[in-house]
């Protein structure tokens, strides 16, 4: 009897494997370390991340600790600021190509963006100028990022993005809910979680309740991908999203505890992390950023920010760029 069940089980496994062939193993991820100071790994939960590609540094905005810490490319803290209360409730940080640092603070329904020098010394509080009416009310950015010469102010709840210069002068904006055709109710009940800007200036974001990731070009063309499920490459509760120089897209799944890799044509390539308590595992990953071949993942359970190196052994079959 045991053999019968065993045979049935093996057959089932075989059929399952045949029914969903694994993608070519073009990617491999290796856990490197967790962002640390001299006392060891820092037990962050769900912090905001930014990278300074010029200086190979990683910035962590910690709302609970009301500070911004800077880490070198070995994952060691080299500097911190904001813990004197200068910024209030720090929500997010962005680093311009010039080395200037922008800090977003929030208090209830108000926000402030402070421009700092490379040492984190506050230089100016941005006075938002020229904001259209739709960005003047009910627009409270909860994250920021920098691309090109623009600061992206993102209100993930209303799904609006305002682009300003370093002084806070409005240049353009995206009403992503409208662009996607969402109703007001859909926007209020969904909203974005992950958000980033790729090398082409495209907006990447996730809407977990739709089990989807989206790419919106500066010309407002929209592409999306994602399919609900719990098997590799499927979306359960997706969160952070970012891309690398080759156009590969990394998507965190908070529920499945993985980071998925898709090529620029949205074909699933590989995933890594997986729920568990080993150093290389993930627990409820949320935000992520990519710097060259390194992927930084913020997670829960006071497990801090895990850093992985992703190796791409050859271009994916559908990739049209990079190599």
């Amino acid at each position: 009897m045991y053999k019968i069940y065993r045979g049935m089980l093996l057959s089932l496994i075989f059929l399952t494997a045949m029914a969903s062939p694994a993608p070519a193993a073009l990617f491999r991820a290796a856990y490197l370390y967790t962002l640390s100071d001299f006392n060891g790994a820092i037990p962050y939960n769900w912090v905001n991340l930014a990278v300074d590609r010029r200086d190979e540094e990683t910035y962590v905005a910690d709302p609970a600790g009301r500070s911004v810490r800077v880490f070198n490319d070995s994952g060691m803290e080299v500097y911190r600021f904001g813990d004197n209360g200068d910024f209030g409730n720090i929500t997010a940080v962005a680093v311009a190509d010039s080395g200037e640092i922008f800090v977003l603070s929030r208090s209830n329904a108000s926000y402030a963006v402070t421009r700092c020098d490379y040492r984190g010394e506050p230089k100016a509080r941005l006075a938002m100028k020229g904001l259209p009416p739709e960005y003047a009310t009910d627009f409270v950015p909860d994250t920021i990022c920098w691309h090109g010469d623009r600061l992206y102010l993102v209100d993930r709840n209303t799904m609006k993005v305002a682009l300003t210069d370093r002084e806070g002068s409005f240049g353009s904006g995206y009403d992503l809910g409208t662009i996607l055709g969402f109703s007001k109710k859909q926007i209020s009940e969904s909203g974005m979680v992950g958000f980033s800007v790729d090398n082409e200036g495209d907006l990447l974001f996730t809407v977990p309740v739709f089990f989807s990731a989206y790419l919106v070009t500066p010309g407002h063309q929209v592409r999306s991908f994602g399919m609900r499920g719990s098997t590799p490459g499927k979306f359960n509760i997706v969160s952070g999203i970012a891309s690398d120089e080759r156009g590969n897209i990394y998507v965190a799944d908070t529920l499945r505890c993985v980071v998925m890799i898709f090529d620029r044509d949205f074909s699933f390539q590989a995933e890594f992390g997986f729920r568990g308590l080993e150093p290389g595992n993930l627990i409820a990953p949320m935000e992520l950023v990519v710097n060259h071949d390194r992927v930084y993942v913020a997670q829960s359970r006071a497990r801090g920010v895990s850093v992985y190196r992703v190796f791409q052994t050859q271009p994916s079959a559908t990739s049209t760029k990079g190599g």
């Binding site: 709840n157 969402f182 509760i237």
Partner: protein
């Protein structure tokens, strides 16, 4: 996965395809792999077969989280930046810093992680986080078992096993099948508890029962907030000495569709109907009982039940009370969500008329109204000890027209915040301005008792 979708003109198609995504639970059991892992083992270890049993390693109950509550909080927790909607815990809140920013009627579980220190009449005093709410054990989110109360006050439910699923039936099997509010749970005969509400054949659930939707002749709606009903017994406590399946029906209540919001301008009114206190007594059986209290004392005899109608004097007080020293209100504007009451009915259609967030339903109590546990306590957590809606440990809730706090410029007001900042105190009042109260407002017990 070839799921790329060109969407410039086809956004509508995507939305149609995923239009049901908003209501994940839909009043009943959600899709299995939303909570359980079928294909992924813990740490992505190979799922072995045969004698290699140690490889067959999933997490408890094959959950996606480390435990029951962590699984729920994977979706229902968020950072302060994304607070709102279906979130019930602010992960980056910290005592003295970012305030818990979810304002659901049940409260923000972040409070159970915030400990406050203060001087009480010269004595160093601590308000432990674990005193602020139900300590639903969630390893992934840093919520640990209550270290003081090993079992539910007034009952035997073990603190170590307390989880979201202790109260909410994650599989949502209880349902309302008719306009009179009949609750049923379909069960397979001979598979366990079989109470009066268990039937072999019932109706399928087609939506949430939390917002007033009515069942039809062919489809049921879920019960309020997927709460457990008669016979409910989480697997994690099955067999624990002294633990019995729930005896009481889920309470009848209707919430407005948008309920996680600041109440700075208008109240979020959940229309509580009946049965809340009886349902809480599933676990807190002997609390607030005139004959047997969990601590053997006799202090906890405040009434709280569907039979505990307000009585003429309390009713008059509730409807007249505005603030300390001001008893000149009218019944038309008497309601406050800081001191809610049950309306004494299971008529969900009528309850739905009162469940608003726009301030259009401010009507006070009537002779059918009764006091309940939630008149004074929040169901999840609050900023105060014993998870009360306001503190009962200071004389004044406001001082000189402002909320007190450690950062108050009025030094005489600082101690009244009991270690909280002014922002934190205001957050416990769901962002109401202090001006809605008296300049020196006393306990909101006075909403019913009018002693101030």
């Amino acid at each position: 996965m070839k799921a790329a979708k060109s969407l410039t003109a086809a956004a509508v198609l995507t939305l149609l395809a995923s239009g049901s995504a908003f209501a994940y639970h839909d009043g009943g059991v959600a899709y299995c792999d939303g909570c359980h892992t079928m294909h992924n083992s813990s740490g992505n270890k190979a799922m072995g077969t045969g004698s290699n049993a140690t490889q067959l390693k999933g997490v408890t109950y094959l959950l996606q989280g480390s435990d029951q509550s962590s699984t729920c909080l994977n979706c229902h927790a968020t950072t302060s930046a994304k607070a709102g909607s279906y979130h019930i815990m602010t992960t980056d809140a910290a005592a003295g810093g970012t305030v818990p920013s979810n304002y659901t009627p049940g409260g923000d579980f972040a409070w159970v992680k915030e400990t406050f220190n203060y001087n009480s009449h010269g004595t160093p005093t601590t308000s432990l986080g674990e005193r602020h709410g139900h300590n639903v054990v969630a390893a992934d989110f840093g919520i640990t078992p209550d270290s003081t109360l090993s079992t539910a006050p007034g009952g035997n439910y073990p603190a170590a096993n307390l989880a979201c699923s202790s109260c909410h039936d994650p599989h949502g099997k209880y349902r309302i099948v008719d306009a009179s509010g009949t609750v049923q749970r379909p069960v397979v005969a001979g598979t366990g508890y079989n109470g009066a509400n268990d039937v072999a054949v019932s109706l399928p659930i087609n939506g949430s029962g939390s917002y007033g939707a009515a069942p039809t002749t062919t489809e049921a709606v879920g019960v309020y907030r997927l709460l457990g009903g008669p016979g409910y017994l989480p697997d994690s406590v099955a067999g624990v000495a002294g633990i019995q399946p729930f005896a009481a029906l889920p309470p009848y209540a209707v919430a407005p569709a948008t309920y996680n919001r600041s109440e700075a301008s208008t109240d979020t009114r959940v229309a509580y109907g009946t049965g809340m206190s009886e349902w809480c007594a599933n676990c807190h059986t002997n609390i607030h009982n005139s004959t047997a209290n969990y601590d053997g004392g006799t202090s906890l005899i405040h009434p709280a039940s569907s039979d505990s109608t307000l009585g003429a004097n309390i009713l008059a007080n509730y409807n007249a009370y505005v603030s300390s020293g001001n008893f000149g209100g009218t019944v038309a504007g008497a309601y406050t969500s800081m001191v809610p009451f049950e309306e004494g009915t299971n008529n969900r259609a009528n309850l739905a008329l009162h469940s608003v967030n726009d301030g259009s339903q401010k009507g006070g109590a009537d002779s059918n109204s009764n006091v309940m546990c939630l008149s004074c306590h929040r169901a999840h957590a609050s900023g105060w000890d014993s998870m009360t809606r306001w503190t009962n440990k200071t004389e004044f809730l406001t001082v000189a027209g402002a909320y007190p706090g450690t950062d108050s410029t009025n030094t005489s007001a600082q101690s009244y915040g009991l270690g909280r900042t002014m922002n934190e105190v205001q957050a416990t009042f769901y962002q109401r301005p202090a001006t809605v109260y008296a300049t020196y407002q006393r306990s909101l017990c006075n909403k019913c008792h009018a002693k101030d």
